[in-house]
Amino acid sequence: MIPAPFSYRRAASIEEAIALLQQYGGDAKILSGGQSLIPMMKFRLAEPAVIVDINGVPGLDTIEEHNGLLAIGGLVRETTLERSPLIRQQYPIIADTAEVIADPLVRNLATVGGNLAHGDPANDHPATMLALRAEVVARGPSGERVIPIDEFFVDTFTTALAPDEILTEIRVPAPPPHCGGAYMKFERKVGDYAVAAAAAFLALDEAGKIARAGIGLTNVYHKPLRAEAAERALLGQAPSDELFRAAAELAAQAADPTSDLRGPAEYKRAVARTMTLRALQKALSRARAA
């Protein structure tokens, strides 16, 4: 399969990339890992006239903690993320997520920024970032803006990014005391998108009650879904199996999956329920161990 012809521009700086995006308007597409864009171009589902390759832009591939925030550069590869000691120790929910994305070969190129910017509800990072209340940093012609994750996902393949904006960083609040998170994905085989998956993040207060709760769901809605009713049901409560089952049921009710080769809608809803329950249980055990 051969993509339609296009012009190739390699940006050496973020300013140059933005200028190129401005120059070509909606005809241009950013190329990061290319692991979603190139398959779409081969199928001719995308036919951008211009490709702006940002892989040579310096400074977008760092993972750092500062000012109470974890900052993940937009160009950080999944492989880098899953192997990072900081991520594995302090943010295991993110390591959980990175290591179930696609396969090791795809993960050598695929980027976190691309995973979010693609706006695919089947992608795994969005649910985790929703559960973590992350923020997305975007740079455009008029400077930088910070987009709360709740406002970032607009629809299938549509995000809050303007055509001339670049996702430069994802910011995650540093972990509060007694917190834990986990990502649970049910996939038919390695490399497949989720039948359904759930991200759960919990923080406990001194009395052991739930002070913060985040639940995100993958591939069961027209966009990445935050299960708000389920989160509310957990707040202020003492964790228990019964409570988690009730929350998982609320999360499953919020899901609205479509029937396809991965299974009928009702089955996917049931998988979403089970994944939410397991993610909550694992998040709790990590919170108690923290």
Binding site: M1, I2, P3, A4, P5, F6, S7, Y8, R10, L31, G34, Q35, I38, P39, M41, K42, I51, D53, N55, T79, A102, D103, P104, L105, V106, N108, L109, V190, G191
Partner: protein, 169 residues
């Protein structure tokens, strides 16, 4: 049609060519360089038959544009053998019967070479994880795992020589 000059090193040899931006790296390797050891299995980023090392990392060359590799370094299956001597990974596939039809083998071996460069003594689980993006329709993977274990063992026994070959220049 726009053509872009690129310069890259493939199996230690330097090339300067002009390519159309839309040319996939796998087509460049097979059709321009005539290195047909790199296979096209699915053409949809699923099977890993097209795996090559790009700056040392195994990637699916059907999902990279040749222009992206400008200034970079590639290693394909043809670059494994040196002076008539098989790379320990190739030897392992031979000795342990790590192939049947052989279609997946070049990609499988490139992934194995990259694994052993990073992790000279992988567990069976680590091997299985590393090759989870390379599909084989014939072997059931058992002998592929054995082949990689054989190579790991050989490379550890003959560290200096094997390490030099594995560097791939």
């Amino acid at each position: 049609m726009e053509r872009v000059p690129i310069q890259l090193t493939v199996n230690g040899q330097s090339y300067q060519v002009e390519v159309e931006p839309r040319m996939l790296l796998v087509h460049f390797i097979r059709d321009v360089l005539n290195l047909t050891g790199t296979h096209i299995g699915c053409d949809t980023t699923s099977c890993g038959a097209c795996t090559v090392l790009w700056n040392g990392r195994p990637v699916k060359s059907c999902t990279v544009f040749a222009v992206q590799a400008d200034g970079g370094e590639l290693l394909t299956v043809e670059g494994l053998e040196r002076d008539g001597q098989l790379h320990p990974v190739q030897e392992g596939f031979w000795e342990e019967h790590g192939l049947q039809c052989g279609f997946c083998t070049p990609g499988m071996m490139m992934t194995a070479v990259a694994l052993l460069q990073e992790n000279p003594d992988p567990s069976e689980e680590e091997i299985r994880k590393a090759i989870s993006g390379n599909l084989c329709r014939c072997t059931g993977y058992v002998n592929i795992v054995k082949a990689i274990q054989y190579a790991a063992h050989t490379m550890r026994e003959t560290v200096p020589a094997a390490a030099g070959i594995a560097e791939g220049e």
